[in-house]
């Protein structure tokens, strides 16, 4: 097996290296990919068409918003897939969150207190990242993962049931669905307002004091919030399922 894999790896590697001679130089601003009208359009026109200074956010949530919708759905799928695979908990019994707090003496008080202090700060930062994604790096995914991480930190520093008491797995899945529903719902709203799916510009009659350009910006904020809901809760749910082997009890 080892030799077979070495052969496969070397053949593939040579093939890929062979092609890389044909590549444009690294960092060449005039390579085909960088000088293509599409990527130039994103840089020159984004401000005018969507009023969002962060090109990545604009492309992610608007020009290629459909990809992002499905990326969110991929996260959701991971959540329900892990639940289906580990499958020790019935879905309709998620509400009975098992309550078996660990003996507090085996946890270090310094760790617990430190985490208690920094958790709200992390969560506040996560909200900032979501809300400020238009102007700085960040957005729904990053903020969502950070928020999820704060819940995971709570579960690690105390125990899983302490975190599940605040947000049970059932509530996590409901919020994840709400997140996708926000995203897809905004898309559907665009159809009802007479545009194509995810064409936020037609939403401007619904939003006060906006034109079609600012409507795009606000639409993006809306979908980023949806993404944040889904990502944060599913990341926590995945952790809860993985760390407890699907039982949602005990854990790390």
């Amino acid at each position: 097996m080892k030799y077979l894999s070495l052969i496969i790896v070397i053949v593939t590697g040579i093939l890929l290296l062979h092609a890389s001679q044909d590549f444009p130089d690294w960092g060449d601003a005039h390579s085909p990919a960088n000088s293509n009208q599409i990527s130039q359009h994103f840089i020159t026109q984004t401000g005018e068409q969507t009023a969002v200074p962060n090109f990545v956010t604009a492309v992610l949530a608007d020009y290629r918003g459909f990809d992002t919708l499905f990326e969110t759905i991929v996260v959701f799928i991971a959540g329900i897939a892990i639940m289906a695979v580990l499958g020790l908990v019935r879905m309709d019994s998620l509400v009975n969150a098992p309550d078996s707090p660990r003996d507090p003496t085996d946890r270090d008080i310094i760790v617990i207190q430190t985490c208690r202090v920094i958790t709200p700060v992390i969560q506040l930062f996560a909200l900032y990242v979501v809300a400020h994604g238009h102007h700085s790096p960040g957005g729904g995914f990053q903020g969502g993962v950070i928020f999820g991480a704060s819940l995971i930190l709570m579960a690690i520093s105390r125990d899983l049931s302490a975190a599940l008491k605040r947000i049970s797995a059932r509530r996590a899945f409901i919020l994840a669905m709400v997140g996708i529903l926000i995203y897809a719902g905004i898309g559907m709203l665009c159809i009802f307002m007479g545009g194509n799916f995810l064409d936020y510009s037609v939403l401007h009659p619904l939003l006060p004091a906006t034109d079609s350009v600012m409507a795009r910006s606000h639409g993006m904020l809306g979908v980023e919030i949806g993404v944040a809901f889904t990502v944060s809760t599913i990341m926590f749910a995945i952790y809860a399922l993985l760390s407890s082997g699907g039982r949602l009890k005990g854990g790390l």
Binding site: L15, L16, H18, A19, Q21, D22, F23, P24, S31, P32, A33, N34, S35, N36, Q37, I38, S39, H41, F42, D62, Y63, R64, G65, F66, D67, F70, E71, I73, V74, I77, A78, I80, A81, I82, M83, A84, V85, G87, R90, M91, D92, L94, R170, F173, I174, M177, I180, L181, A184, M188, I191, G195, N196, F197, L198, D199, Y200, S201
Partner: protein
């Protein structure tokens, strides 16, 4: 006219998946009606798309209304082949969902809503693959289908399901990553992700000779060959499909490999163009020979199996060889045959898997030997199974005959006699395999003590059919086999509307 028909086809799956998950939390009983309703809406939408394509030639949809310059947003573009794929996916989903409704409580107790949710998401992903005209969006859709099908396979309680699913995860990820790498290679040279735009740039800057484009093609091809279980890369398929819960197998087996074949065809005709694929690449012949190898290997492996489902899985590997070989014959009949075979193979795989599932349900085992006397015990199921088997062998008027007819015609036209011989040989092997089963099922004695629960009486065998929710989809599929066969010239003509020299960028 209502211009969101594509959205009407794809979105119900995703909304319904959310609704079904919500049902799982509150009212698990409602999850089946919701799923059926949404698949029904999708089927209606796909038929509307088909009608639209019939009149207008193609349906385009720009997500977010970003149409200028081309490729800035994500575009959906449905031509005749993809519109037929949409209908196929919706019909297969509907039939296997009806079948699943009767079996699921027994196979996956307590997990029904999760199963339906993953089922709908998988179906939505498959629909997305067939609609999209954006190379990267296709990757995202591919990952949706992969993740859901891993989970659907791993859900089973069988001892081997999880380990098969693990290998499926590894192979599937390698396949998808190679596809993504190929898209990267295309992107670094052309700077675009829109399929038609990539094709235009390759022509415009005459990049056909560029090693990057060639490697991009190879990477995408390898990725898809892994996903479709082309012979040397097919180790994961028999285990994954055999050990999966049968409700999963019935849906995944007919569609997953076929959609990967569709992606390969789409890449050849839309992104790279046939001129590049067949004239600039010197190793087209090699692929045909590999396909011959796959056909022979699949047939030989099938001969050695005693488990019905496992045998069918080996036959899928041989059938994948048919399609890949047909596509690489480099003429219009071969390509038509390959695409036609996607539909007929999906129909016959569904038919045989449904029948195998019913046998397993009744006998509790998948061994071929347990089928003794089933012609008397389950006449309807066996009749449908026979029809599926005839189609696999290639008996007219079933669809299997016509797809082989086109493939052989293509093979003769391009002088690939080895491929033609392999096709005929594999039909012969199929005939041997299935007549072996017929012999057992027809002449075998039911009262040898194998099934004391069902066949106590020596002379009069009680008819003991499967429940109607399992039987109806089977009968419908068997009828579909004949229907596809009878309308073969219309379907082939419709497929060829996607293969005009203008659409594929070159003359055949």
């Amino acid at each position: 006219m209502f211009d969101h028909t594509l959205m009407l086809t794809i979105l119900p799956c995703f909304f319904a998946a959310l609704a079904v998950t919500a049902c799982g939390l509150w009212k698990p009983r409602w999850s089946l009606p919701v799923a059926l309703l949404s698949v029904g809406i999708s089927l209606f939408g796909s038929l509307a798309v088909l009608a639209e394509v019939m009149t207008q030639g193609r349906v385009q949809y720009f997500l977010g209304n970003w149409s200028e310059p081309r490729g800035i947003g994500i575009e959906f573009n449905v031509d005749p082949i993809s519109s037929l794929m949409l209908v196929l996916i919706c019909v297969v989903s509907l039939l296997s969902l009806i079948y699943a409704s009767g079996k699921i409580t027994e196979e996956l107790p307590g997990k029904e809503p999760l199963f339906y949710a993953l089922f709908l998401l998988l179906m939505g992903g498959l629909l997305g693959i067939c609609m999209t005209a954006d190379a990267f969006n296709l990757y995202v859709m591919l990952e949706i289908t992969s993740l859901t099908s891993y989970a659907l396979v791993a859900m089973g309680n069988g001892r081997r399901a999880a380990f098969s699913a693990y290998n499926y995860v590894i192979m599937g990820t390698i396949g998808a990553s190679f596809y993504l790498l190929g898209v990267g290679y295309l992107y670094i040279r052309t700077g675009s992700l829109n399929m038609a735009d990539i094709f235009r740039i390759i022509q415009l800057e005459s990049l056909q000779g560029s090693p990057t484009i060639t490697v991009a093609f190879i990477m995408i091809l390898i990725g898809m060959l892994v996903k479709m279980a082309f012979f040397p890369l097919s180790g994961w398929l028999p285990n994954a499909y055999t050990h999966a819960p049968s409700v999963t197998g019935n849906f995944v087996a007919p569609l997953m490999t076929k959609v990967s074949v569709y992606v390969m065809v789409r890449m050849i005709i839309t992104v790279f163009g046939i001129e590049f694929t067949f004239d600039h690449l010197p190793w087209g012949q090699t692929v045909v020979w590999l396909a011959i190898l796959a056909i022979v290997a699949g047939s030989i492996m099938a001969l050695g199996q005693s488990d019905l489902k496992r045998m069918l899985c080996c036959l899928i590997i041989a059938e994948v060889g048919y399609m890949v070989g047909g596509a690489w014959l480099a003429n219009i009949h071969g390509m038509t045959g390959a695409v036609f075979h996607i539909f007929s193979d999906a129909a016959m795989t569904l038919c045989l898997f449904l029948a195998a599932g019913i046998f397993h349900h009744k006998n509790g085992t998948g061994e071929i030997g347990s089928l003794e006397g089933h012609f008397r015990k389950m006449p309807i199921t066996m009749a449908a199974f026979t029809l599926g088997a005839f189609s696999m062998i290639g008996v007219p008027p079933t669809c299997g005959f016509f797809s082989k007819f086109y493939l052989i015609r293509g093979g003769l036209e391009s002088g690939q006699y080895g491929y033609v011989v392999a096709l005929l040989l594999s039909s012969l092997v199929n005939a041997i395999l299935f007549f072996r089963i017929f012999e057992t099922a027809y002449f075998g004695n039911l009262s040898e003590g194998h099934h004391d629960a069902h066949g106590n009486d020596d002379h009069e065998v009680e008819i003991d059919e499967a429940p109607p929710t399992m039987l109806a989809p089977l009968v419908a599929t068997a009828a579909g086999l004949v229907a596809i066969g009878l309308f073969n010239s219309e379907i082939a003509g419709f497929i060829q509307r996607s293969l005009t020299p203008l659409a594929v960028g070159g003359t055949w």
